[in-house]
Amino acid sequence: MKNKLTIAGQEFTSRLFLGTGKFGSNELMSAAIKASRTEMVTLAMKRVDMNKPNDDMLTYVRRAGVRLLPNTSGARNASEAILAAHISREAFETNWLKLEIHPDPRYLLPDPIETLRATEQLASEGFVVLPYIQADPVLCKLLEEAGAATVMPLGAPIGTNKGLRTRDLLEIIIEQSRVPVIIDAGIGLPSHASEAMELGADAVLINTAIAAAGNPVAMAEAFHKAVQAGRMAYESVPASKLDVAEASSPLTSFLL
């Protein structure tokens, strides 16, 4: 790959990030992490028993040797997320944070107002904030100004595997953004991931599509290849699509 992805000064060779929920076992999760070649996985702090030094899930994630991106899943407003962020920073010894604030427990859709508030505060405290948000171009710019390290707009409601339903808005976000754009939710197939990369997204984050697959490990590898292919296509500058065919006898040959 020509251009490596850099987030808050850290370089990533892989543009695929993974979630750690929904796996049938920790063994499967760690095998999928390995097969995906990812360098960063996100983990819900509420799933980890921080009083237990040998918490199963955390042990498996650490053993995989990838960067840990704790998330605030379960927080419903900025103050809960900020408290969770502080606890997570101490427990996981990282100031990186995937900020998730979803007051709605059904579709887990992020609250833009609370997310912006929490980002402002946490970024000012030195957190590397990666906020999960709606595919809203204006919100993305506001978050960028608030100090977000990336923006993580959704492709479709989380867990739905529906693909890039917000594609038109994602294109605007990618065009405008000065921070990396990570497509975070709704990607259900490797082809969706390729599509996101071809659009120029900097990375994708996948969980359900891998964890709930019949063979999560093979699916993780498929996503790895799809993300690579999509990025390579993007960097190769795809030939333009034209709405009209170019006439073999040019229309303007009479012009000298």
């Binding site: 796996f23 076992s25 799933r47 427990p105 059904r106």
Partner: protein, 372 residues
């Protein structure tokens, strides 16, 4: 507006008629509905006309559950704080007329129970259960118990008498995460037959509790009906209507449902009016999952191990294990004091083994007091 003002729009007998008149084509229409199912679709799926579609319903239920919750089952454990009760529920072991010894656990006994629970499993989700005795085990007692167990568990739920909005708020501040309360039956007229005296005889007071929980901002609310009192299909439809109402009004709350099923041999004095077969219970669980992909569904140790194992991957999301339903039972088990006899008496580690053997993982912790 509260639900007691709305429920009377629904006529029990009419709903029953609708359900029992559903045809196979109604069932197919519901199964092929690609949008969110209506309560009318749900009625088709729980109707006798759907009994030939269980295989297809099971596959759909498994798929939706797996997508939303992954290949996981959450574990929780009930802790009975007291069997002291002022109510006369004619089906319940804690009925005040039953000549059993009444126990209200002391602080020391509660902590002994916690220790005994921790010795049998990695439980992080606890359900505190009481009979209903507002004077001897009221909200102060419950709050004290929450504070006592708080440092040992990530998530604390309660299943106690209906409280006021203010009391729910207060308990939430003390660390309570979820409230489970079962209406038992939505049949307003017959409700009183089963709950003839005591505070619980007031149908509206119990039903309005759900709005009080919602207004108090309780994180998770558990609803349910006791299967064995009235026609289970009509009660399930009423439950679905209530669930939809709650979801629209209190949209920040998570919901859980369960269907405790009375068995033919249960209790000496009361014989269930309605016997629901395992096949029917499975149908109800599948139907609820197809109707609502996000609602949590629990299957307790009331059900036996064969059925629980078979249902693990088919729609439910949480299970209790190693449960004792007599206060003090984890430290010293006394069967004569229990609320109901458990059918699955395997140890938590045996249940974990059974879940894992199906390629599913057990989640002990999925909440944190920091989020409280």
């Amino acid at each position: 507006m509260v639900y007691t003002e709305i429920i009377d729009k629904y006529d029990w007998n009419e709903i029953g008629t609708v359900i029992y008149n559903k045809t196979e084509s109604d069932v197919l229409a519901a199964l092929n509905n690609r949008r969110q199912l209506t309560t009318d679709d749900f009625m088709a799926l729980i109707s006798p006309a759907a009994s030939g579609y269980l295989e297809r319903m099971a596959a759909m239920s498994q798929l939706y559950t797996r997508q939303r919750f992954g290949k996981t089952i959450q574990f929780y454990v009930p802790l009975y704080l007291t069997n002291s009760c002022v109510n006369h529920c004619i089906y319940c072991g804690f009925n005040r007329n039953n000549a059993i010894r009444r126990i209200i656990l002391t602080d020391e006994q509660i902590l002994n129970e916690v220790e005994a629970i921790k010795s049998i499993g990695d439980f992080q989700h606890i359900l505190l259960v009481t009979g209903e005795n507002p004077h001897k085990a009221g909200v102060d007692y419950i709050e004290n118990a929450i504070k006592l167990v708080r440092q040992h568990f990530a998530s604390i739920s309660i299943e106690v008498q209906p409280l006021s909005e203010e009391e729910y708020r207060r308990l939430a501040c003390s660390g309570m995460n979820a409230v489970y309360c079962y209406q038992e039956t939505y049949h307003r007229n017959n409700y009183k037959l089963y709950h003839p005296k005591g505070v619980k005889s007031d149908f509206n007071h119990r039903l309005d509790a759900f709005d009080r929980m919602g207004r108090a901002g309780v994180h998770k609310i558990g609803l349910g009906v006791l299967i064995g009192l009235e026609d289970w299909r009509t009660d399930a439809a009423m439950l679905a209507l209530h669930l939809r109402y709650m979801q629209k009004r209190y949209w920040k709350t998570k919901y859980s449902i369960s269907f405790p099923r009375m068995r033919p041999h249960e209790g000496e004095a009361f014989r269930p009016n309605v016997i629901m077969t395992e096949r029917e219970l499975a149908q109800l669980i599948f139907a609820f999952r197809i109707f609502d992909h996000d609602v949590e569904m629990a299957l307790s140790t009331r059900e036996d191990h064969v059925f629980r194992d078979r249902m693990t991957t088919l729609g439910i999301t949480s299970m209790s294990a190693g449960s004792k339903t007599d206060p003090g039972g984890y430290a010293v088990y006394r069967s004569e004091l229990e609320q109901f006899a458990v059918s699955d008496d395997r140890s938590p580690s045996e249940v974990v083994g059974a879940v894992r053997s199906q390629g599913y993982d057990v989640i002990w912790k999925d909440w944190d007091q920091a989020l409280q």
